[in-house]
């Protein structure tokens, strides 16, 4: 039901993002989805990658602090109002979204949106029961 997201603490200075993405590139890690939350001093980079174990090892060896979080990869109909429908379901069930961001690619006719919510288990079961498609880890790499 869940997929793994990798979160990395990145200092907010010139070139730090370049350094980080180059590191992934050199090690053959494919970035499937990416979002950055930033403040003036630091940023949290969240990514869905092709190989979690390898990515963790590579970035930790380089001195970055990284950890894994379980998130929902929700297949949302790629039509106007598609995302609103899913959010409505969550709201009606008192589930809060911490953050969300979208996949670069489409899967079939669906856009893929990554959700981080306050009650992951409930949210996952709810969406499934309502017929919303959730991607598994092996479907994304």
């Amino acid at each position: 039901m869940f997929i793994q997201q990798i979160s990395v603490f990145i200092e907010n200075r010139h070139g730090s993002l370049t350094d980080f993405t180059q590191l992934l590139g050199e090690n053959g890690v494919d970035l499937i989805a990416l979002s950055i939350a930033d403040t003036t001093n630091f940023g949290i980079l969240r990514a869905i990658v092709s190989d979690n174990e390898k990515t963790l090892k590579v970035v930790r060896d380089k001195g970055y602090t990284a950890n894994l979080t379980e998130v929902l990869a929700v297949a949302v109909p790629d039509v106007p109002g598609g995302l609103a429908g899913v959010l409505q379901l969550l709201r009606d069930n008192d589930i809060s979204v911490e953050y969300l961001y979208s996949f670069v690619r489409r899967v079939g006719n669906d856009a893929i949106i990554i959700f981080r919510v306050d009650q992951p288990e409930r949210a996952g079961n709810l969406l499934r029961d309502k017929g919303v498609r959730l991607l598994e880890q092996d479907e994304i790499a």
């Binding site: 997201q5 979160s7 603490f9 949290i44 602090t65």
Partner: protein, 434 residues
């Protein structure tokens, strides 16, 4: 211009007689009233009656900021609380400040010292003096204030801040002199320049600047921007406040220390051995006119030397050179004393923060800035920015509360603050001061 000609030009022999008499009195007072110092004297095997000449001063044990902290808040007061009429405070080395208590006589003695300093700057009762040092626990504002009133000049107690209003009053009231930190003087000068105010509308002719280190370069800049003579004033909370020593207009080389109230010694900071006049070392001050909180051989950690030659102004009180740095890691930021250990005490105990930190001091547009870098623990790195930001705010507040100074807090990734082999470097001072 002398405030107190007989005392300021007294012959050395008479001055030393006064010094010995007051030193003996002070040592008696400390021995009788301050338990920690009595114990220290006993441990060193010295009694008050062993002080027979001024040279015997070196028999006495040193005092340090640490002693004042260990006896916080008033364990080093040598007068009963009923005699204490005022309290000031400055930063200690950890969370607790250094508290100083003054008797009525101390306030009068201090005002006398400041009055002489004003005389050194050529200020008389016909002048108006703007005091732009902070008023409050900090000794700057009230210290200067009482001195200005003592000479009968007009005091304008603007305190620090609100620069445009300061300048309006300075111009409209025709202030002749100003007292503040040198960096604030620079800021006022720059504001005059940037606002295109006309210097000829100002009567200002002299400034007494202290409470932080400054260079000859800064002096030139201040003099140019404000169209005045800029003079250095020295003091510290532990020996009263500003007014312990002062440059004179005539000499402008070295600061006369009022030796009938303060005995300076220059020591080797490593061994504690007294150094001959002229040699650079750590300044210690023995207060011989104070009752509330005398300090004996107080280690200032300021580096300077004594200029024994007479000054062309005619004052016989010896001069210390402008400060050359410090023997410890104390920083002076916007006039506030800051010890790295204060930051350590503030962040210890906050979950998620490593006991590693780095202070980066800089001077941007002539105003000191302090960035504090602290390290996150790996387990605190979360995918939720909000949590990290909340932690950042908490750390920032904790540090600002201890320092009494606004800081720019920077949370750093785990293990990113450099580890050193030997003594850890906790500060980087980018200001070019000395």
């Amino acid at each position: 211009m002398y405030w107190n000609r007989p005392m300021e030009t007294i012959d050395r022999e008479s001055l030393e007689r006064i010094q010995l008499e007051r030193l003996q009195k002070t040592v008696h007072r400390m021995y009788t009233n301050v338990a920690f110092y009595r114990e220290r004297m006993q441990k060193q095997g010295v009694k008050p009656e062993d002080i027979r000449t001024l040279a015997d001063l070196r028999l006495l044990p040193f005092m340090d900021k640490r002693d004042l902290r260990d006896n916080y808040p008033d364990g080093t007061f040598a007068a009963p609380r009923s005699e204490i009429v005022r309290i000031h405070a400055s930063s200690g080395t950890t969370g607790k400040p250094i508290v100083a208590g003054y008797t009525q006589n101390d306030i009068e003695m201090w005002a006398e010292c400041v009055a002489r300093c004003l005389g050194c700057a050529g200020v008389t009762k016909n002048d108006t003096v703007q005091v732009s040092y902070g008023y409050g626990l900090f000794t700057g504002g009230l210290g200067l204030h009482y001195g200005v009133e003592k000479i009968g000049a007009t005091v304008v107690p603007t305190s620090a801040g609100n620069t445009k209003r300061q300048l309006m009053l300075m111009q409209d009231l025709g202030c002749d002199a100003v007292a503040c930190t040198p960096s604030y003087a620079l800021m006022m000068g720059e504001t005059i320049r940037d606002q295109k105010m006309d210097l000829s509308n100002f009567k200002l002719r002299v400034g007494l600047f202290g409470a932080e280190p400054w260079t000859e370069g800064m002096r030139d800049e201040i003099e140019k921007l404000l169209g005045i003579k800029a003079l250095d004033i020295y003091g510290l909370t532990e020996s009263a406040g500003p007014g312990v020593a002062m440059e004179c207009l005539e000499g402008r080389e070295g600061l006369h220390m009022w030796e009938d109230y303060f005995i300076p010694e220059i020591i080797d900071p490593a061994t504690g051995e007294p150094l001959p006049d002229g040699e650079m070392g750590e300044l210690t001050i023995t207060t011989i006119g104070k009752e509330g909180m005398p300090t004996i051989r107080f280690r200032t950690h300021d580096l300077t030397s004594i200029i024994p030659e007479p000054c062309k102004c005619g004052r016989t009180h010896r001069r210390i050179r402008r400060l050359h740095g410090r023997t410890d890691d104390m920083l002076i930021i916007r006039g506030v004393n800051v010890f790295p250990s204060q930051v350590e005490s503030a962040i210890t105990g906050i979950p998620g923060i490593a006991p590693r930190y780095l202070l980066i001091v800089d001077r941007v547009h002539n105003l000191d800035t302090l960035e504090v870098q602290v390290e996150l623990l790996p387990e605190l790195v979360s995918d939720e920015v909000r949590k990290i930001e909340a932690l950042q705010d908490r750390v920032k507040r904790a540090i600002e509360q201890v320092l009494g100074l606004g800081v720019n807090l920077r949370l750093m990734p785990p293990n990113s603050i450099e580890r050193s082999q030997g003594k850890t470097q906790h500060t980087i001072d980018k200001r070019k001061l000395l």
